[in-house]
Subunit: 309 residues, 4 copies
């Protein structure tokens, strides 16, 4: 969404190593199961990227059992810091198909392993299944790395329709979906209807992670993992191991912190709470405002009352 | 909501056996865990209750492992047909507190075991936590039988706020909540925040039953149980037994039929599909319209493609 | 919506004087143009109707140039107090068609001149044009007095569709529409599409009265007219006389008071401000709560800053 | 929103001629009253700007009594074609304040007369009055040309709050508002509350233009003016002249075509209908899809049944 982006590092991926070749040879989709923090970029007071602090954060994140990281900027820098076994998912959704394809190409050139493509939404009244299937098909056709669909109605005012997802799940270069809407019935239905395609559904939030695993999701892209990364990974592991009673108890303690750093107080709260847990959150870029003193106190309570502070 | 109601049978409950006495002596809340169909009343062509067909349905429902039934009309008739170990939950929510109290009294006199009280909603702009806490407290204070809160935003355009539920969970005569909104994060939070009160959360739909159990709900009031009663009870039992993999598989097959008889095609679809499974659904009362031929075919596919027809 | 209603006075209208006869003989619809307050019923502390105070209010209202009054209760009492040249519109919308027909009959028996029939809404997901056309046609067919459609999405979560209104405008016993949604483009379209039918559109609020007149509405049912009745009538008169500049100036001064007694603070504010202007507002019935002190002060400012207090 | 933008022509405006100087010397705001089409850019089949066809359109638009044009791309080209007495309003809203300021600078350099700045919306949950006042103040402070606020909830899911607009109306470099929400009560209130500031409100659609003028708006930015430009200008002129009865009749005939080319069928319909009226609409860029045959027929009916085709 924001204008400045840097992804100048060119990947060693040759033009030949497209998804068409890979899927022909391997016959299997990229495994994206696991937990990803969509990393918050630290800025300096002048609103430029603070690379030193970014590197500090990355160093810590690399020690956690994340499956990978999600970035929308600074792809090159993150790629350099990331161990080879971690996936780098790069956000490349733009309003036009053409711009999305161009950004996807730049992201792939900067060695992103996978693209996370949010729905276009400015003309949401016209974004029916036909338009969205067309859009994603063109993007996936042209991309040299796999595509993950991304439905995030709280930000876009648009939910990627179930029938569009089912059809798109058949595309060999579309490997999964990040669903941030939190409608658990829908998530279960999507898993049911796409599993013959080896399609992978990721929860878009730590708030409903246990429920999502219970109905067949295989991971999550969780803002809260920027703050409580180990705990979110533990939660996923408990679900995968079938230890549901323990999972439920841990889930309870993560709901309020998660809501606080997402829907309730948003990015400013995420960045603030990162500071409390040893990461560099830094300032927010305008028009996002710092939290009021009252909100800050409430935020702290959401962590402390659940035993995290 | 509809005008004609019959509950003239007076219960043997004496004035002395109020919740105050019961809670003093027993020290424990009524256990409402389990599955309930909110029973659909069969009507004759002239839109009167068809008691013969109602009795036929009840006979069949009594053979299923339901915890009880939910009714909004015909309380007396249902009570007569119901074995003593089954609970009768009676809907008694009206727009004014006074009318709700009066209907609650009539329901209790007709031997309802418990009241299911939907939020008032006509003045939804003024229905904040203060107003709703006040409303439910007065209703619960005056009722001789326990009260279950009922939040159903699809019908009322209003969600009972989390803070109001937490406060109301402390009332000794309020034993639980039916939540039909389906926001699984909210349901988990409500379980966490009220479990010290022995407060019981019921899912308001079979569509998210596994997820609700996964985060601590103890049952469900499920329209689909009018049609696939045994299957919904099986699903609950699998969850209670911790057989989550089997539960997930069964859950998948119930989502489309459930959506079809609720949000998608509504009461006409519920009544139609009851006929397919040996129950009397009967006609709908105007302004509800019969399904179109195309909708009817779609409805059938939702059951047949999941192996139920 | 509330349970207690009294309309025992039987009108002298014989069964023969139905709309069919009238429309055959007269060939013209009832003229409903003008301003109506939907009168607020004063209650005693015990939440019973305070008839003495109601009569006091009615006496004052009868001195104002209203076209009539809208009532949902106490039809009999109001009819007795009302001069013969004023219209009594009685709310008779219920959830089922059958109950609506029955209440309409009782209202007509109590000498209502016209019925104001809100859309059923509990099953709003199924209330498409087909269902609503069917509902209103049955109600209008069976009613001995004319029917006014009533679309009030803020309370019902449902807007009566344009195509349904256009078709219903052709029914000889449906004379108009009260539209409270405030979508002025829709109101203009409705006037355009129904004017060949002599169908009359009333604004459902004083907040957009000038705009509604500007696009062809012929009156309004305005809660604010309970408080500033003369002013709302003046506003209508300025519009009818084509004195748009004066109308605009008066409109400005009514917007904030109107919003305050409707959407913002609701019925409690309406009743409170009635007291300031010499009427009996009285208490609200639970679950409506009295205004907080801060809200009360804000409410007063909305009137005083516009020169009314 | 779309990526490719060209505005390389540098305006002769010197750094000294900022709004601060101008407002000091002139003491009066830029008069923006009148009608503006937000011009649709024609593209070639390869989705590049079709400059020849753009010039053809501009030639025709320059013959109509528009006050100016609104552009979001191709500022330079439009400026060259535009007579000196016409205003060029350039869209420059981005998600971050920084990017908005940068684009505003580029637009001013390309000789835009005024900036039209839509609300940021990606983090709409955090875009309260405080954040938006801060955002617009920074943009207006730094801009060398006047700023027009732009509230367009259908596209952004966010309505610029009334209190924010009132406060921002006091900024000497913010001259008005384009309001596309269509809430006529809100528009009237905004006019009332800002007119001491010489603040100008423009309707964001031809669908409610008469109503907007009736409550004090001074013009409109109307997509329909791309197609029926003379008629929209006539409508405005009738309102300004106080010929309300004629205005109303013309308004009626514009509502359906307007809804068709905006909310109902969107940009593809706008471009298609431009072709019918002698302009070059051209293809839409993906993900926007061409109209289906059925939609196309419906679109034609909306024009023909109102006497325009």
């Amino acid at each position: 969404m924001f204008a400045t982006r840097s992804f100048t590092l060119l990947c060693r991926r040759s033009a030949a190593s497209t998804w068409r070749n890979k899927s022909q040879s391997a016959g299997k989709r990229l495994d994206i199961s696991g937990i990803y923090p969509p990393i918050a970029t630290p800025f300096t007071q002048s609103e430029d990227v603070d690379y030193q602090r970014l590197d500090d954060n990355l160093k810590k994140y690399c020690d956690l059992p994340f499956r990978g990281l999600v970035v929308v900027e600074v792809v090159k820098r993150v790629k350099q810091a990331l161990p080879k076994d971690k996936l780098l998912l790069a956000g490349s959704g733009c309003e036009s198909t053409r711009a999305t394809i161009q950004m996807s190409q730049r992201m792939a050139d900067a060695c992103a392993d996978c693209l996370l493509v949010a729905t276009p939404c400015f003309y949401r009244g016209r974004m029916d299944s036909r338009a969205l299937i067309n859009h994603y098909t063109k993007v996936a056709d042209s991309s040299s790395v796999p595509v993950v669909l991304y439905s995030v109605p709280a930000n876009t005012g648009l939910e990627l329709p179930v029938d569009a997802i089912i059809q798109l799940s058949q595309h060999p270069n579309i490997v999964g979906l990040k669903d941030s809407g939190g409608d658990i019935t829908r998530i279960a239905l999507l898993v049911q209807k796409t599993r013959s395609q080896d399609f992978q559904v990721l929860a878009g939030s730590a708030g409903f992670l246990v429920a999502a695993y219970a109905v067949g999701a295989v991971g999550g892209v969780c803002a809260l993992a920027n703050v409580l990364g180990q705990q979110v990974c533990d939660l996923a592991q408990l679900c995968v191991s079938g230890r549901w009673d323990e999972a439920r108890e841990l889930q309870y303690r993560l709901i309020e912190p998660n809501t606080a750093v997402t829907r309730q107080y948003g990015v400013p709260a995420l960045k603030q709470s990162m500071e409390w847990f040893g990461y560099h959150g830094g300032v927010c870029r305008s028009p996002l405002q710092p939290l009021s003193k009252a909100d800050l106190e409430q935020l702290q309570v959401k962590f402390s009352s659940n035993g995290w502070l």
